[in-house]
């Protein structure tokens, strides 16, 4: 089992979600987050005084999948989230030890 995390643009969430559900991904958790990467923030003027927007709004997705789905899921996120402009985000893949369904107590890939 793997956990695929992705930081994406809020505007791309819908497209990424559609591509993932088409693949048969059954569950998806999304967080509204703020952060910066290499694109950093930008400066704006408010009533004549400059201010910097360092932390930009992003969506943080967390998806748990069986091993065989990892590559198609990563591919789907790449296709859905890419605009080609700096600030598209990143994908992180990590191994996962255990998954437990709270309602039944079921464990392992069947609980995903």
């Amino acid at each position: 089992m793997k956990r695929v995390d992705a930081v994406i643009r809020p505007s791309q969430l819908d497209e990424v979600k559609q591509r993932l559900t088409a693949l048969g991904v059954t569950g998806l958790t999304a967080f509204e987050v703020r952060g910066f990467g290499r694109q950093k923030g930008h400066t704006e003027t408010y009533r004549g005084s400059e201010y910097t927007v360092d932390f930009l709004p992003k969506i943080y997705l967390s998806i748990i999948v069986a091993e065989d789905l990892v590559d198609p899921v990563v591919e789907a996120i790449l296709k859905g989230a890419r605009t080609g402009v700096i600030g598209d985000g990143k994908i992180f893949v990590t191994s996962l030890d255990e998954v437990i369904r709270i309602r039944t107590g079921e464990r392992g890939p069947g609980a995903i």
């Binding site: 408010y46 009533r47 004549g48 400059e50």
Partner: protein, 569 residues
């Protein structure tokens, strides 16, 4: 000394309230003890009769008996009077109809004045939204409470003494004939004749002020005072304690606003300089660019200087930092409500719908508003690359403030010019305050109301075209500048003295409002700091001052914004 909000203060407040109630009762007894020459008319049944009936040019149908036998036109006046008497004796029914027409005329004007007063009242909601939207989220509840409490406490102060100070002698030199003239308000507390400095009748709205005509004026004028009262919120918010703010409101409602108001609208000395010193039509401010907005704006300036800037507003290098508005939707909605309310503020200041100049006033007011906003948007676009939404709103308010004094006396073309100049003044004023004077004014109140209020009063002396206001402040009822029916006239239409008086009067207003406020509140600030503690300011004033948040769902987020506040975010 006592602590604001502490037990001592509460005891003191209780004593003060009891004293006020007793004073109120005493004022009522005294007023009834001294019989008045003119009787108040609380029921409104005697207000408005045939004497109120005039033709379109303002000539009455009832001829008064000429008293001065040496007057040059005595023979003609005597004949007119005798003709009228003979006519009246033949047509008793016509006189009854005339009485009814007179009553209906006053009733029409009552409706207009009261309804436009309600519109001005609604501006309170607009200003609350505007200022609340312009500040940081953590102070949103505090801002709403300041706007709310301003209405409550300043109203009571104005009821107790403010109205009497301002209009206690209005019948002497500035009788509101559209409302029946309020003949019972006829005494100056300080000064007399055409040199009045403070009105002296109508305390606690008892006796001479318990009158239908007077109360119509009270309702309309109290909401004007409230406008001056809430203006200060925009400059002192996010750091003033609630108790200090209430003292500010009582000060404005009881003293600061009524005194200057008496000088200009209560028949006081400034308005009479035309008759006494041959300076134009006396100091003219139609709806209050200086009386309301200027006084509020310069009072706000003094308070803001005393309080100092918000924590983190200026970096160690002295450069101003931006504290962006938390809700632009409130800001724009609030501005539109203010524009709507201004349709009462200016046209309503005729105190009567039978004065048909109201349509010109309404158009002029709107034109200046849109011109001001357009100028601010364009200027900001050229200076900073993007129009600023909050400055576009400030630009509209600047146009409105500036047209408030001249709205009845100028043409639509001049209104556009006045609006454009105000839109530029407000933008440069905001930058000047923030960058050079280093006065922290979160909502631009000083620039919008102070600077543009000053400009508006001067604009009367420049642009007034003489089409309206013949006989204003008792000057030139028959002819002015050699022309019959010539009204208030400005510099470009040939009356230099009016311009100089407007400039002098507006300067006096700025010095008066800033100076008195500065002296009084420097003392108050010495007794007890008017500013909240550093911790409270960083955490946001909502919970420390009132125990609740404007947006309770932010309770968890508070922890995060608390840490951001240390960086001045």
């Amino acid at each position: 000394m006592f602590h604001f909000g502490g037990k001592d203060f509460r005891t003191w407040m209780l004593k003060a309230t009891v004293a006020l109630v007793l004073l109120n009762a005493a004022a009522g007894t005294m007023a009834s003890a001294f019989a008045q020459d003119a009787k108040p008319d609380p029921a409104g049944t005697a207000t408005g009769d045939r004497t109120a009936v005039v033709d379109a040019a303002g000539n009455p149908i009832v001829m008064a008996e000429p008293a001065d036998k040496t007057a040059s036109d005595y023979t003609k006046a005597r004949k007119d009077y005798e003709d009228y008497q003979a006519q009246a004796a033949k047509e008793p029914l016509a006189l009854k109809v005339a009485d009814n027409v007179g009553h209906l005329k006053i009733a029409t004007n009552f409706s207009w004045t009261l309804l436009t007063g309600y519109l001005v009242l609604f501006m309170q909601a607009g200003f609350a939204l505007l200022t609340c939207g312009l500040v940081r989220k953590k102070n949103a509840g505090h801002l709403m409470m300041l706007n709310f409490a301003a209405y409550v406490f300043a109203f009571l102060a104005y009821y107790a003494v403010g109205y009497a100070f301002q209009f206690g002698a209005v019948a002497l030199n500035a009788a509101p004939t559209n409302l029946g003239g309020t003949p019972t308000l006829n005494h100056f507390l300080i000064g007399s004749g055409q040199w009045g400095f403070l009105g002296g009748k109508g305390f606690f709205l008892t006796g001479p002020a318990y009158d239908a005509g007077s109360n119509c004026l009270t309702l309309f004028e109290v909401v004007f005072m409230e406008t001056a009262g809430y203006i200060i919120v925009g400059a002192i918010c996010e750091r003033i304690t609630f108790w200090a703010f209430l003292i500010c409101e009582l000060f404005i409602g009881a003293f600061l606003y009524p005194v200057f108001g008496c000088w200009v609208w209560g028949g006081g000395w400034l308005s009479q300089l035309g008759s006494t010193m041959h300076m134009g039509h006396g100091y003219v401010d139609f709806a209050g660019s200086s009386v309301v907005h200027g006084v509020g704006g310069f009072c706000a300036m003094a308070l803001s200087v005393i309080l100092g800037p918000r924590l983190g507003k200026y970096g160690p290098d002295g450069k101003p930092r931006a504290f962006p508005a938390h809700n632009i939707v409130f800001v724009v909605t609030g501005t539109f409500i203010l524009l709507f309310g201004w349709m009462g503020f200016n046209p309503g200041s005729t105190l009567g719908a039978t004065d048909l100049r109201i349509s010109v006033v309404a158009v002029n007011t709107n034109l200046a508003a849109v011109a001001g906003s357009a100028a601010a948007m364009l200027l900001w676009y050229f200076m900073f690359g993007k129009p600023d939404i909050t400055m576009a709103c400030n630009g509209m308010l600047a146009g409105l403030v500036a047209i408030t004094a001249p709205c009845a006396f100028v043409s639509p073309t001049s209104s556009v010019v006045i609006g454009v100049v105000a839109g530029v003044v407000v933008c440069l004023g905001v930058l000047f305050n923030e960058r050079y004077l280093k006065i922290d004014d979160p909502c631009g109140a000083i620039s919008v109301h102070g600077y543009c209020g000053f400009f508006g009063a001067v604009a009367v002396g420049i642009f007034a075209d003489g089409t309206y206001g013949a006989g204003w402040n008792g000057v030139g009822a028959l002819s002015y500048l050699g022309k019959a029916g010539q009204g208030v006239t400005g510099l470009i239409h040939g009356d230099t003295s009016q311009f100089w008086l407007q400039l002098g009067g507006a300067t006096l207003m700025a010095v008066y409002a800033f100076g008195i406020t500065f002296v009084v509140f420097t003392l108050v600030n010495k007794v007890r700091s008017m500013r909240v503690s550093k911790e409270v300011e960083l955490a946001g004033l909502d919970v420390p001052e009132f125990g609740m948040l404007a947006y309770p769902e932010d309770a968890v987020e508070m922890l995060a914004t608390g840490s951001q506040a240390h960086q001045g975010a």
